[in-house]
């Protein structure tokens, strides 16, 4: 089964934003065995978009558009795709009501133009969008044409069934074409791909598959990781490929097989081997973040942590509380930009700050211990450093960060010299703190 991705938006064409959506979709499609034949990007221009869609529909079985579903005049994907598919749009009353209720609940008057987002293909259906106002659209008109054909084998789509059985579609038959229109904002686009597009197409393709799994590694550099797995990176199937990320390394294992079970088994065998070599430096898989893995460890061990942050300014607390259920392990934290608040909130002696400076191992340790006292937690984390771009001195340059993790028995302190932007330095500091905390919890586990 062949697919084409059509990204719509002048801002993409002008390079004002990078098209991460298309890359994401392409990856998902190839993992479910749909080969992406071409990707094309056009601006918010009816004639050019129509041209691109017609060409895509002529050459591929599935065409997926990204973007152009907003309520404004230059959002033309919905209408143009209907035109290319020879379909018409009708208002879906349930969706219209939902839109109206949404605006009412927020006390905002709904502009008439928003009702565009309640339009549904005559031959097709809408994809629910829990994260925005624009639902996705699936056009199946040419499937009808196919289904109406004399062969009579296939069942006509039932617009009422939430997910009709798409197995009946002969993927090698023409003109059995599917077109989907997905919204551009990544927070709406990605869940729609994961929860609707992928299962829908997976059901249709049935056949050969590509699977992959990502191991996420912390506390080891990319070249050290690669050294340990170099032989495996030369194997063709499954492949193992390292990717350097900010503060961590990912290893992607990809297997091709005739069916999902075989591919899954190949991956699991390879993952097992990788885990033997990398041990607990692998903190998680796929989309699991370091904060999520750490919160899980703490939850299982029934331990809590509190934070006292200076240069990271709440980033560490924000990452921890980004994890659903983190309230079980995180009573709270403080952000101490001012020296006064370091003393007032987490008991760092003013004399200590005067003697060693706010950016010092002593203060990091006092912050960590103060967090424990203040929040009555099992662990405390203290971070103090120079995030830049200003404020560096020869003795305390930009990127110098002290990170302390305190437990009941002892404190561990790391002195780091991070490079990069303010954002990078803050991120790496929080990453190191989470890694140190994770190591402490793991030690406890192996000691008990």
């Amino acid at each position: 089964m062949r697919a084409e991705i059509v990204s719509v938006g002048t801002e993409l064409l002008l390079g004002q934003i990078v098209d991460t959506n298309a890359a994401y979709l392409a990856r998902v499609l190839s993992e479910i065995g749909v080969s992406v034949f071409r990707r094309v990007t056009v601006g918010d221009n009816h004639a050019r978009l129509l041209d691109a869609l017609q060409q895509a529909l002529a050459e591929s079985d599935v065409v997926v558009t990204v973007g152009g579903l907003g309520p404004t005049e230059d959002d033309i994907t919905r209408e143009t795709l209907a035109e290319a598919m020879g379909d018409t749009l009708e208002r879906d009353e349930a969706t219209a009501h939902r839109l109206q209720a949404f605006f009412r609940s927020r006390g905002i008057r709904m502009a008439q133009s928003n009702l565009k987002q309640a339009l549904k293909p005559m031959h097709g259906r809408l994809i629910d969008n829990p994260n925005g106002t624009a639902p996705g659209l699936i056009f199946e008109r040419e499937l009808d044409a196919f289904n109406d054909a004399p062969s009579g084998e296939a069942t006509p789509p039932n617009p009422k069934s939430e997910i009709r059985n798409p197995k009946s579609i002969h993927t090698d038959a023409r003109p059995g074409k599917i077109a989907m229109a997905l919204p551009g904002p990544p927070n709406e686009f990605i869940p729609m791909v994961d929860n609707h597009v992928a299962p829908y197409l997976r059901a249709i393709t049935g056949g050969g598959t590509i699977r992959s799994r990502t191991l996420r590694i912390t506390g080891m550099g990319e070249s050290s990781v690669e050294e340990k797995v170099l032989d495996l990176t030369h194997v063709d199937n499954p492949t193992v490929a390292p990717y350097a990320k900010l503060g961590e390394v990912h290893l992607r294992v990809t297997a091709r097989a005739s069916d999902i079970e075989t591919a899954g088994r190949m991956i699991e065998e390879r993952v097992k081997l990788l885990l033997e070599r990398l041990g607990n430096r692998v903190y998680g898989f796929d989309d699991e973040t370091l904060e999520a893995a750490t919160v899980k460890l703490l939850t299982n061990a029934r331990l809590t942590v509190a934070t006292a942050e200076s240069c990271t300014g709440g980033l560490l607390a924000s990452r921890i509380t980004d994890v659903p259920g983190s309230s079980l392990v995180f009573p709270g934290g403080v952000v101490n930009y001012s020296n006064e608040s370091k003393t007032d909130l987490v008991y760092v002696p003013a004399e200590m700050i005067a003697e060693h400076g706010a950016v010092s191992a002593e203060v990091a340790q006092a912050l960590a211990k103060g967090a424990i006292t203040r929040f009555k937690s099992d662990f405390g984390i203290g971070i103090t450093g120079v995030a830049g771009p200003d404020g560096g001195t020869p003795e305390k340059p930009v990127g110098l960060v002290y990170i302390a993790v305190a437990g009941a028995d002892r404190v561990k302190i790391e002195k780091a010299r991070f490079i990069g932007s303010r954002k990078d330095i803050r991120w790496r500091s929080a990453q190191t703190a989470l890694t140190m905390l994770r190591d402490r919890v793991l030690e406890l586990g192996s000691a008990s």
Copy 2:
């Protein structure tokens, strides 16, 4: 002058890497007045690449390929582009010698296949690549056809001159086509675009340019923004286009003109008009974030703010402290996940929490006032809500968030019902808090 970008590489098609090169090139091209008509991505497949190139050459004046210039078998751009341009390749001896010397100097035996990288168009030339082994290629064959035409005005290209004068090319004339092939690694690609492609095309276009500026708007939905500027979105030059972002709206103004000054003036006039209509709902321009704009306002007014966050868990503090220089306006904040810490750190009465619940207008207000008391700041922000995905009840559903901004004189509280993921709800909560704070500071400014 119209351009198309053709990105070549199966890894792009599969989404294994994100195509930042094409976005970069698109931005540079539009800045020098070359309008990018379409972008297309194809795999390392001769027939499909040839097809894409032929179509691009039929519709655009300039076609630029990215990638596929390496020494391996699946690097086919060079040959396929020559085929599409009706040109042939010949070995450039100087480049061949340089390649051999390069490998010798690193003590590596050069594979024969590397000599592919010394091939040069019969009608065209190579672009020097100081950062890799593959030079870029410029094909000008169809320019010859044009130059040989009876009009006789244009001078034939002189292959010896490093940069011949391209002014003589009539950009509206056919068949005056240019094709360029650039290498894929960004550290080779970007310098080549900056140092060769941009000057070459700038000379051809005669200095025409496109400039743009983005207005960033908070506290107004996309459709309300559009209503206010609808007439301007119908104007062709400068264009005005709205984009919905998470919790804010962007309006992009783009002007085309013969020179940078004219384009800049056109933009400034349009921006002035937009500011008259949207007033202080415009918080910033281009890459300025809401937190940066708010920190700037506070800094200028010599005011400080402290935060007491429950459901946002430090995200607001983290966004504020992401801004360089924020320490002048932000003494600190607290993250109060536990009710105990709400009482202990920012004096929220335990009875109030018992009576109204932690998620309530009363607690939000107490958090905001407590932050002021604790940090001796001018403003205090309190946020409490249900970020989800769990923890919602019929009375207090996921997405219900109370946001309070307190000053010395009064407190303003908003009750919001956000939709989306935990991440979205947290982001929108912080966004609303920053907007409310900004409004308070603006009021002070206009009152004084």
